[in-house]
């Protein structure tokens, strides 16, 4: 069990790292926060995922402010994308029960690696 003080310090470090990462890159920050929540704050993998998602609501809401001020949020695109995404998330979560996850994660990981090469070199 962590003391309240060390929980506050470790929580602060996790928040600053996740928030900075999210604001700078436009992703939620779960990739940074989930490992910190399990290693530094001793949460289980499931607790870390749920807790990270709850924090991401605050993180993304705050991070979007400077983008909106700079005029870098295309609200028409947001509307179309969100409409598609709402249906997609639902279908994806249902399909998750039936599709072998490991091969899929492997494939998608390779796809991300290929995309990163394109972004880094292209």
């Amino acid at each position: 069990m962590l003391s309240l003080r060390s929980q506050a310090v470790r929580g602060g470090v996790t928040g600053v790292a996740g928030g900075l990462f999210s604001g700078l890159t436009g992703v939620g920050g779960g990739a940074v926060m989930v490992p910190m929540l399990t290693n530094l704050l001793k949460l289980s993998q499931h607790q870390a995922h749920g807790t990270s998602l709850a924090i991401i609501i605050f993180v993304a809401s705050a991070a979007v402010v400077p983008y909106a001020i700079a005029g870098n949020v295309d609200w028409g695109l947001v509307a179309a994308l969100s409409a598609g995404a709402a249906a997609g998330v639902y279908a994806g979560a249902r399909a998750m029960q039936r599709i072998p996850a490991r091969q899929l994660r492997l494939l998608f990981g390779l796809f991300l690696l290929a995309t990163s090469v394109r972004l880094l070199i292209g």
Partner: protein, 131 residues
């Protein structure tokens, strides 16, 4: 309106993959918006963040119902995260787009590599899902 159709498809595919793989939409949305919709890196990141607010709300409520949100941890992580997120977003909007795109490239290199690594390490036998 072919543009609207492309936008809907990018949203649908991003949401589907995100839901299926349990990854946040950002690593899918940002490159998809840049590559398929031809927007700049900053706009892609701004739009991605708004989409993440919605998916975070849906996912967060679901996890909360299952008792998987540690509220005291949220209260000690969120304040620093909010301040740092504004700072990070401010920096991103000052940066040249190609520098930002390279930072993003490193991010998905890391996420991709860790997905491949964990899937590889899990081995073919442990394919069943965690409860």
């Amino acid at each position: 309106m072919p543009e609207l159709v492309t936008e809907l498809i990018v949203g649908l595919a991003g949401g589907f993959l995100g839901g299926l793989l349990g990854v946040g939409g950002g690593v899918i949305y940002v490159p998809a918006i840049v590559i398929f919709l031809g927007e700049g890196q900053q706009v892609a990141q701004g739009v991605s963040l708004v989409a993440i607010i919605f998916t975070g709300l849906v996912g967060g409520v679901t996890h909360f119902r299952h008792g998987n949100v540690d509220a005291p941890i949220v209260t000690c992580v969120a304040p620093g995260a909010i301040v740092a997120a504004v700072l990070g977003g401010w920096l991103a909007n000052l940066m040249p787009a190609d520098a930002l795109q390279r930072i993003f490239g490193v991010v998905i290199l890391y996420v991709g590599a860790s997905m491949v690594w964990s899937a590889w390490r899990a081995g073919p036998r442990q394919d069943e899902r965690k409860p």
